[in-house]
C-alpha cells in the first residue's frame, strides 16, 4: 500500500512539471468516505472526491452525481414524452454533501460553493492557514499508513485529523489544509467523520475538472439567498415559474 502511495506522489510531481506548459493538468485524486451525524441521525453518508492540482483543489460529492444520473434516466424515460416523472420516498438519495469546496492556493482561500435558486454562490470559509494546527505525538495506523494526530480549534468547532507525511500534500477534505501530509482521517465535534478510501493519479484537460462558475459573496448573503428561495418555495411558485404544492393541498 505504502509503495503505491509513494509511486503515486512521484508520478504526480513529475507530471506536474511535464504538463505545466500545456492545457493538461495533473491530478492527484483522493476519495473520502464522509459521514455526518446529528442527534443520533445520520444526515450525510457520502463518498466525496478531492481533486488536487498544482494551483487548487476541488472537493465534491459523488453521491450527488449518482442522484443526478438517476433523475436524468427518469427524465429520458418519461419526461421527454410528456409523462409524469414521479419519485418515491428513498428512491433518490438525499444524504449527500450539498456544497463543494474550492481551495485556491495562491489566494489562500477555501471557498464553499452551493447552487441556490439557479446560481452558484460561493463564500470564503477559511484562509488556508497552517498555524492553527497543533501536531501531537500520538500515532495511529490507517490503510497501512502511520499517521500523526493533529487538532485545530476554529470558532467552536474542534477538528481532529490524522495525516501522513508519506504523502507530502498539505491537503485534506472540506476546508482542512496545512498539515505536512495528506489527511487520512478527520472528525469534528460537530459530527463529521471522514476517512480516506482511495488515491489515484490522473491527467485531465483543465475543463474536465468540473469546477463550476460561481459568484463570490459573503456567508450572510448565501444564507439570505437560501432564505429567499425557501420563502418562494413555501409560497408554491418559484421565481423561474416552477410550481410546487403539497399533494394534499
Amino acid at each position: 500500500m505504502k509503495k503505491y502511495f509513494l509511486l503515486g506522489i512521484m508520478i504526480f510531481v513529475s507530471n506536474m512539471i511535464l504538463n505545466a506548459q500545456n492545457n493538461m493538468t495533473v491530478l492527484y485524486s483522493v476519495k473520502y468516505n464522509v459521514n455526518y451525524m446529528r442527534d443520533n441521525v445520520r444526515i450525510i453518508e457520502d463518498i466525496c472526491q478531492l481533486n488536487i492540482t498544482e494551483k487548487s483543489s476541488y472537493f465534491f460529492s459523488i453521491g450527488k452525481e449518482i442522484r443526478l444520473q438517476k433523475i436524468r434516466e427518469k427524465f429520458e424515460k418519461n419526461g421527454q414524452n410528456g409523462g409524469p416523472i414521479n419519485f418515491k420516498k428513498g428512491e433518490l438519495r438525499s444524504n449527500y454533501l450539498n456544497f463543494t469546496v474550492l481551495k485556491k492556493y495562491e489566494n489562500k482561500k477555501a471557498i464553499f460553493i452551493e447552487d441556490i435558486g439557479g446560481q452558484n454562490l460561493g463564500f470564503v470559509k477559511d484562509t488556508l492557514s497552517s498555524n492553527r494546527w497543533i501536531i501531537t505525538n500520538e500515532k495511529e495506523t490507517f490503510n497501512g499508513l502511520i499517521c500523526n494526530k493533529a487538532t485545530m480549534k476554529r470558532d467552536t468547532v474542534l477538528i481532529t485529523a490524522w495525516f501522513t507525511t508519506k504523502i507530502p500534500l498539505q491537503e485534506g477534505p472540506l476546508y482542512f489544509y496545512g498539515l505536512p501530509g495528506l489527511i487520512i482521517k478527520a472528525k469534528t465535534n460537530t459530527g463529521f467523520e471522514i476517512e480516506l478510501v482511495s488515491t489515484e493519479n490522473k491527467i485531465l484537460k483543465k475543463e474536465q475538472l468540473k469546477i463550476p462558475n460561481y459568484v463570490l459573496v459573503s456567508e450572510k448573503e448565501v444564507n439570505r439567498a437560501k432564505a429567499n428561495y425557501d420563502a418562494a418555495f413555501k409560497s408554491g411558485r418559484l421565481p423561474n415559474g416552477d410550481i410546487v404544492t403539497p399533494k394534499n393541498y
Binding site: Y36, I43, I44, R67, L68, I71, R72, F75, E76, N78, G79, Q80, G82, P84, I85, N86, F87, K88, K89, G90, L92, S94, L97, N98, F99, F112, D115, I116, G117, G118, K125, V157, L174, Y175, T188, T190, F192, K226, Y229, D230, F233, K234, L238, N240, G241, D242, I243, V244, T245, P246, K247, N248, Y249
Partner: protein
Amino acid sequence: MKKMILTFSFFAITILAFASYRCTGSFQTSCGEWNYIIHANDVGDFLDRYDRLEAAAERACSTGAKAVYC
C-alpha cells in the same frame, strides 16, 4: 422590414415554446408528498430545477435544521 422582424420573432418564440419541456410529477420527502410543474429547456435544466426543488422541500420539512456547513 418591420413586418419581417415581427414574423421572425413570432416563429422564434413559437419554436422556443415547443422546444421546452413541461414536466409534471411528484416526489416524497420526510414530511409528505409534493406535486411539481417544471418548465425545462433541456434535461440539464430539468436536473438543476428538480434538484433545487427537492432540496428546498427537505429544508422546509426540517425548518432549515439540515443546513450543514461543518
